[in-house]
């Protein structure tokens, strides 16, 4: 099967999207960008291919009677186990790398102790791994670094204390190792992991599939045999120059976001994308062709990173900001959208007795005001208006945007796709399809 691939290298995350020759989205993949775009590209692409396989499984398994009414549940279980397989692979790599670093002469004198602590630590991490991927388990993120890192630190601290090893030693080893592990793509054997996940699913489910298990295995096996050909790749985003392919395969992120928004909602005329480090206001025509655009200048004020900074200042997760701000009963007026001043402004308001949620509502409004200025400079907000990027997932930002757009531009349809983070990759894949067909 021909696959047209779009890759969006963002400052925070790298996204990949696979499309077939009929413009149907086959799969999506995302990973953290690290500081290595080559790795990020490889991993995001592999994730997208894996996602595409799962979509193929769904299509293929829909004919299995034994799965009637429980196909979603079965696939969810298969996917969780697949993630577990991936996790275990990287965990083994992390363990080997940590042990390698533990042999460093700087730890001589306690080499044995360090080795024992690491053994205990990793035994526990391996043992508890299935819990993270159990049904209903909540993970802060799906990125290996986040999942393994938080557990390594928590378990490590306890084990180190018990064994009388300075926790700093473990930290030091981890810091060196995680970078190496993240900069390796790992084993690319998706099929092997799917089959491993399938075994786990059959084992764990006690699922009464009985004789149908063989049928399911057959379908999965067939779906794994379908060749997914990497027909044409187009890359976009800030790391685009680093992509391991030639110039014809690179498109500006503004064009990709414009086209991606058009593919999602073909009535789109204005696009606002708020990403980690830049905000883009784009005007497109009926064909998704960019007519005009404005971007923030050298300053990251009003970008996603601003929210990240605020979250750090308040010691909460960035995903918690929106829900907290949504509890506001009033909106505190915030004058500065300067990322650096935001912390000072925040503390100042708190010291004046303002409530956290009211201040946060004000900060969200300030970000959106900044975006509105870019929008007006690009030609205003026209019907329909599509909001994309990571900040589009933030309910408080969305609410502030809706209010301000209505106040300034009247009734305009505002589109926010749940998969809006893939807008750039979708545009890039569409360019890939067009170029591949040409």
């Amino acid at each position: 099967m021909k696959c047209f691939i779009g890759i969006d290298l963002g400052s925070t995350t790298t996204k990949a999207l696979l499309m077939d020759a009929d413009s149907k989205v086959l799969g999506r993949g995302i990973t953290n960008s690290r500081s290595n775009y080559d790795i990020a590209t490889t991993v995001a692409k592999r994730e997208a291919f894996a996602d595409a396989r799962f979509n193929l499984f769904r299509a293929s398994l829909s004919s299995v009677e034994a799965l009637d009414g429980r196909l979603d549940e079965f696939l969810a279980s298969l996917e969780r186990n697949f993630r577990l397989e991936q996790y275990l692979e990287q965990l083994a790599d992390l363990e080997a790398t940590c042990k390698n670093h533990a042999a460093d002469p700087r730890f001589s004198g306690q080499t044995q102790l360090v080795g024992e602590v690491l053994d205990q630590l990793f035994d526990q991490l391996h043992a508890e791994a299935p819990e993270y991927f159990a049904p209903g388990a909540k993970r802060k993120s799906d990125f290996f670094r986040d999942v393994a890192g938080s557990r390594y630190l928590a378990v490590g601290e306890a084990v180190a204390k018990e064994e009388g090893l300075a926790f700093d030693v473990l930290l030091n080893i981890y810091d060196r190792s995680i970078i190496e592990v993240e900069n390796r793509t790992g084993d690319s054997d998706t099929s092997g992991k799917v089959l491993g996940a399938l075994d786990r699913t059959f084992e764990s489910a006690g699922n009464g599939l009985g004789a149908a298990a063989a049928e399911v295995r057959g379908h999965i096996g067939e779906a794994l045999q379908i060749e997914l050909e990497e027909t044409y790749v187009v890359g976009t985003g800030y790391g685009r120059a680093r992509l391991p392919f030639s110039k014809e395969h690179i498109r500006s992120e503004i064009l990709c976001h414009g086209l991606g928004a058009h593919v999602m909602y073909d009535g789109t005329r204005t696009v606002l994308d708020i990403g980690g480090q830049d905000t883009k206001a784009i005007q497109i025509d009926a064909d998704g062709i960019v007519e005009n655009f404005q971007m923030n200048d050298r300053c990251a004020a009003g970008c996603g990173r601003y929210l990240g900074y605020i979250a750090d200042e308040m010691n909460v997760g960035v995903h918690e900001l929106g829900p907290i701000a949504s509890k506001a009963t009033r909106t505190v007026r915030i004058n500065s959208t300067c990322t650096v001043f935001a912390g000072a402004e925040l503390r100042d308001r708190l010291s004046l007795g303002e409530k956290r949620e009211d201040i946060l509502a004000g900060l969200h409004r300030a970000i959106i005001l900044r975006a509105l200025s870019l929008l007006s400079r690009s030609g205003g907000v026209r019907d329909q208006f599509t909001f994309t990027g990571g900040v589009a997932n933030n309910e408080a930002a969305v609410r502030a945007l809706e209010t301000l757009v209505r106040e300034n531009y009247g009734d305009v349809a505002i589109n926010i796709d749940p998969e809006s983070i893939y807008t750039g990759a979708l545009g890039a894949a569409t360019f890939a399809l067009r170029a591949g067909e040409a």
Binding site: Y238, S252, I254, L255, I289, V290, F293, R298
Partner: protein, 430 residues
């Protein structure tokens, strides 16, 4: 606006060597001026009265040129910081801060030679309010004489006889007597006429060179290359036979390129295929000049007309210095500088450039620390887009403050713009 390069070897043509000699010669004259008993006048590019100053044997020093030359040589950043340390705000014009910072560091010019204390500051006020404040600061530093020519703004888009007479009257009654007093040289109008003859010849050739960009492919880049071409005519050399000679040489070289069907020459060699033709509004960035230019030429983008190459005089709509009406033509020259034009006139000019030079659109390089250029630029962009039907784009950099050049940001915008043009073209073709 003059030749200056750092880093890798750059291809140079005869005209480039000639210009380099002119510039180096002037800096050497400035360094020796006082020991040779010569007087020094500092003045700005827009509306400069170079021919008049030559009549009094002044050696001419142009602070903006020093600042941009320091920018090209990566020296301006430290100077800007020096001025900020002394209390000048981050938002102040970076030319001003680079100049003041250079003075604070000992007033060593871009070529490494000391710059003299000016004997007079001649301000021909043509639309940039900051120039006035800049000279106030320099005056405070040197306690030197100042002369100001008040040039009325072309608010209605025309030069009335009244406006011209007003400027002429100031030149006659105020400026010339002051220059005579400071220099000790008597004014001789025939000497001025001789210089103006040279100016007009140079201006003819300059216009020919700039208009060669109407050809496809354009043999020149009228912005990045253009800032070199305007160098002699906009600064201390207009009116000298050397400048006239420079323009004759340049014209010959460009004519050869044109006949050979060649595109512009860039610091990285001959440019490849011409893919985009742009009109650019706004001054260039000097601290990353080559890097900025490269973002254009490696994409096949040529600037076919620019407004920055009109700041020291708009010659392509017919105006020439006129030896038969010397003072009147100096007045008209000042009144007609690009910085003295109102927004509708600028919109007309830009629209005409997009059409006459068959450009793909208008690009604005908005300068962070230059309000006098930047105010109203977005309106210009919209207006020109509406009138030409060609897409416009907007990038933001600074003159000589390196902190305000974000390469990734500028490149993203430029690439987006070029691809946007391609996309529109493809659709048009389909």
């Amino acid at each position: 606006m003059n030749t200056a390069t750092t880093g890798e070897a750059v291809q140079k043509e005869d005209s480039m060597w000639k210009q380099k000699e002119l510039i180096n010669g002037n800096y050497a004259r400035l360094a020796r001026a006082h020991e040779e008993g010569r007087k020094v006048a500092s003045t700005f590019v827009p509306g400069n009265l170079n021919e008049l100053l030559m009549c009094f044997d002044f050696v001419r020093n142009l602070p903006e040129i020093n600042a941009l030359q320091n920018g090209l040589r990566k020296k301006s950043g430290a100077m800007v910081r020096e001025a900020e340390k002394a209390g000048h705000s981050e938002d102040v014009c970076a030319y001003v801060k680079a100049d003041l910072g250079m003075m604070m560091q000992g007033n060593i010019g871009p070529m490494g030679e000391p710059l003299p204390k000016p004997d007079i500051l001649v301000l021909s006020y043509t639309g940039c309010f900051t120039f006035m404040k800049w000279f106030e600061l320099v005056r405070e530093q040197y306690q030197c004489e100042t002369a100001m020519l008040h040039v009325p703004y072309q608010g209605d888009g025309t030069i009335t006889p009244n406006m011209r007479d007003y400027v002429v009257k100031q030149i006659k009654e105020d400026l010339i007597p002051t220059l005579e007093r400071v220099s000790g040289v008597k004014f001789d109008i025939d000497r001025l006429r001789e210089y103006l003859v040279e100016s007009a010849k140079a201006e003819d050739d300059l216009v020919w060179v700039l208009q060669s960009a109407k050809n496809k492919p354009s043999p020149i880049d009228a912005y990045f290359g253009g800032v070199y071409y305007i160098g002699p005519a906009f600064t201390a050399f207009r009116g000298t036979p050397e400048a006239t000679d420079y323009y004759a040489t340049l014209r010959r070289e460009v004519a050869e390129r044109l006949a050979a069907g060649k595109g512009p020459i860039t610091p990285d060699g001959e440019m490849g295929e011409e893919r985009y033709r742009l009109v650019v509004e706004g001054p260039p960035n000097w601290t990353h000049f080559r890097e900025f230019w490269k973002m254009f030429h490696e994409e096949g983008a040529v600037v076919v007309a620019s407004t920055y190459t009109k700041v020291g005089g708009v010659f392509d709509f017919g105006f020439r210095h006129d030896p038969t009406n010397p003072l009147e033509s100096l007045a008209e020259y000042c009144l007609g500088c690009y910085t003295n034009l109102n927004l509708p006139t600028r919109a007309d000019m830009l629209t005409q450039y997009v059409e006459d030079y068959q450009a793909d659109g208008l690009l604005i390089n908005s300068i962070k620390s230059c309000n006098s250029f930047s105010a109203g630029q977005l309106l210009l962009l919209r207006e020109v887009e509406d009138r030409t039907g060609k897409p416009g784009a907007f990038v933001e950099t600074d003159l000589v403050d390196p902190r305000y050049f974000s390469a990734a940001n500028v490149k993203t915008r430029l690439e987006s713009y070029f691809q946007m043009i391609s996309q529109k073209r493809e659709r048009h073709a389909a």
